[in-house]
């Protein structure tokens, strides 16, 4: 693929992951460039979340090589792993907010663990992050159980961004949100990507957010990357699953229309 490891945020080569007899990822290779928003699509149960979880080290791999920010995870020292932990932020599908802590404490948690900051600064930065993800300051003292689905996702994103990471992993960020909230969330990801210069690795099912947010798309089928590239490349792909996904009944409405709107707007 001709890109040096300097320009790559994540480099996956020949990855094999399985549970028992079942092979989920079969010699998969994927690159994520620095500063891009990559969308990963695939069938339910097809290994999207498994890939994400393997990259962040939650699931052990059987074979292959994963490099995050130029560091090979197999030979990384503890110090390097610590550094990677600090430079990556993860938004879990259900938010995974700590239920015993308030919203503000949740966002402060990574800062407390990794940085020595004054109380005032930690508070102000956490408040700033909450405002950046569009939350009201009055929500800061609420507990996660008191939040709606969309708010939970926003708080989780604020927590993922707490340490100004270079890579943000998003696991189905718009699932379970109504179309307006999902659209707002798409805009939010795009804005934050621009202001903070983030690399975003996004697992999603949402064709609309793939179309609006993602610069590049990778389609996962049969444990491999079946197609990779822009939305146009996806639409042109002849792989049967990719065809069914991007040119199916639901896709026709969602994908074509916004595209034509964009063209008109220009």
């Amino acid at each position: 693929m001709g890109l040096s490891s300097e320009q790559l945020a994540i480099r996956v080569r020949d990855l094999v992951v399985g549970f028992g007899e079942q092979i989920v990822l079969d010699h998969l290779s994927l690159d994520v460039r620095r500063g891009e928003i990559l969308g990963l699509v695939g069938a339910s149960g097809g290994g999207k979340s498994v890939l994400l979880r393997t990259i962040i080290g939650l699931i052990p791999k059987r074979r292959g090589k994963i490099e995050v920010l130029g560091i090979d995870l197999d030979i990384a020292t503890e110090q390097e792993m610590h550094l990677i932990g600090r430079r990556c932020g993860i938004l879990f599908q259900q938010g995974a907010l700590f239920s015993a802590l308030t919203v503000l404490q949740n966002v402060q948690f990574p800062m407390r663990e990794y940085l020595t900051l004054s109380d005032r600064m930690r508070r102000d930065i956490a408040m700033a992050k909450l405002e950046m993800v569009g939350l009201n300051l009055d929500d800061a003292d609420k507990l996660p159980a008191q939040l709606s689905g969309g708010m939970t996702k926003r708080v989780a994103l604020a927590r993922a961004l707490a340490l100004d990471p270079e890579i943000v992993f998003l696991d189905e960020p718009t699932s379970g949100l109504d179309p307006i909230a999902a659209g707002d969330f798409d805009d939010l990801i795009r804005t934050l990507h621009q202001t903070l210069g983030l690399t975003v690795f996004m697992v999603t099912h949402d064709l609309h957010s793939l179309n609006v947010v993602c610069e590049r798309i990778a389609a996962l089928a049969d444990g491999k990357v079946a197609a990779e590239g822009s939305m146009a490349a996806m639409l042109a792909s002849e792989h049967p699953w990719v065809r069914a996904y991007f040119r199916g009944k639901r896709a026709r409405v969602l994908v074509r229309e916004p595209n034509s709107q964009q063209i008109e707007a220009r």
Partner: protein, 378 residues
């Protein structure tokens, strides 16, 4: 590489010129904050401020926030603040940070600690009352469900009740028998040790027999059942509540009390007398064993003395209490389970509350039975 100082200052004609350079990122935030605070203190009286950030190589939210803090300290005093050398790539971030933290959240009013302590006490009293009402409501709901099940036996969840009976009865036998056996042995050992001073070794049989059959047997079993089965009821129903399973049942027109709680409570009410019987026997066995091995009293004598010392009344007093205690444990465990809210913390809290409350109520109930039996002369 020769690194320039992160923040340099110069005063040119009454204007402070601050030049930031290097990495203004999270990793250096602690030192940078000290520099910024020092600069704020030092230059708060200057007429105007110029912040030059052309030398900054890396900037993130933390650095941007500190620069903004510097600028705000001056602008809040009505001084003029100008920026110089802002690279395009950081313009968006600085602009974003300028927007935030503008509004101070409504500060909470200071409260009198003494008054708030009294307020808490009052709230606890109200909660206690609510708990009592809730528990009585649960008794009523279980009773209602039981009557309905009697009227329409086909609606009773027989399979579920048998399954629960297996869990709280059969599977609890080993641990209940082991612990009561040990306690019986300990009581006998202590009895022999102290009675021997008065030459009254033989009375250890009375001690073990009456104590175990009347009080210790049933109380120990009740406490173990509350800790073992009551807590699992609470956790189970609580997590069902968290995952909206209980709401799903309700919307299907089913009564959770009938479907989930009645079989559980009934299983407990059936299991507890059996466990109490087994536990009491194990305790007597442990006592007899110790009397034989430690006190030198042969098993024949122990049994003969036991026959004289205890009557069927002692046994009845213990056994009568068992189902009532089981009912209280079951009702408390289930009503606490239904009080669980969305968070994992609340599940843990209610489980603890369930065990503490049911053990407390079991002991209160035991006291009330003692008064009752004394007044009817049993």
């Amino acid at each position: 590489m020769d690194l320039p100082a992160p923040l340099r200052s110069a005063i040119v004609g009454g204007q402070v010129e601050l030049t930031a350079a290097g990495s203004w990122t999270a990793a250096h935030a602690a030192q940078l904050e000290l520099l910024v605070d020092a600069a704020v203190r030092e230059f708060s009286t200057a007429h105007s401020m110029l912040i030059d950030i052309v030398g900054i190589r890396e900037l993130d939210t933390f650095g941007a926030y500190l620069l903004e803090r510097l600028a705000r300290s001056a602008s809040e005093r009505g001084r003029e603040v100008r920026w110089a050398g802002v690279p395009d790539r950081y313009r968006g971030l600085l602009e974003e940070i300028r927007q935030v933290n503008r509004r101070q959240p409504a500060s909470r009013e200071k409260r009198n600690t003494f008054l708030s302590a009294i307020e808490r006490l009052g709230q606890r009293a109200i909660e206690l009352g609510d708990d009592l009402v809730g528990l009585i409501a649960m008794f009523g709901a279980i009773g209602q469900a039981a009557v309905r099940a009697l009227a329409h036996p086909r609606t009773f969840r027989f399979t579920s009740a048998v399954h629960q009976l297996d869990r709280v009865g059969w599977q609890a036998v080993p641990i209940v028998v082991l612990i009561t056996f040990l306690i019986g042995a300990i009581i006998a050992q202590q009895g022999i040790f102290h009675f021997r001073k008065f030459g009254a070794d033989d009375y250890v049989v009375d001690l073990v027999g009456i104590l175990v059959l009347r009080e210790i047997g049933v109380l120990l079993v009740a406490i173990m059942v509350a800790g073992r089965s009551g807590s699992s009821y609470t956790a189970e129903l609580g997590s069902m509540k968290m995952r909206e399973e209980i709401d799903a049942l309700r919307t299907m027109g089913l009564d959770p009390v009938e479907v989930l709680i009645l079989p559980r409570v009934l299983a407990l009410v059936l299991a507890m007398p059996v466990l109490t019987f087994l536990g009491s026997m194990a305790a007597l066995y442990g006592g007899g064993l110790v009397a034989w091995l430690y006190g030198g009293m042969s098993p024949e004598i122990f049994i003969a003395r036991l026959k004289e010392a205890i009557s069927i009344d002692h046994f009845k007093v213990g056994m009568i209490k068992a189902p009532f205690m089981a009912f209280v444990i079951g009702a408390v465990a289930c009503s606490e389970g239904l009080k669980v809210k969305g968070s994992a913390e609340s599940l843990g809290l209610q489980t603890t509350t369930s065990v503490v409350k049911s053990i407390f109520l079991v002991i209160v109930l035991d006291g009330m039975f003692a008064i009752f039996f004394a007044s009817i002369g049993l």
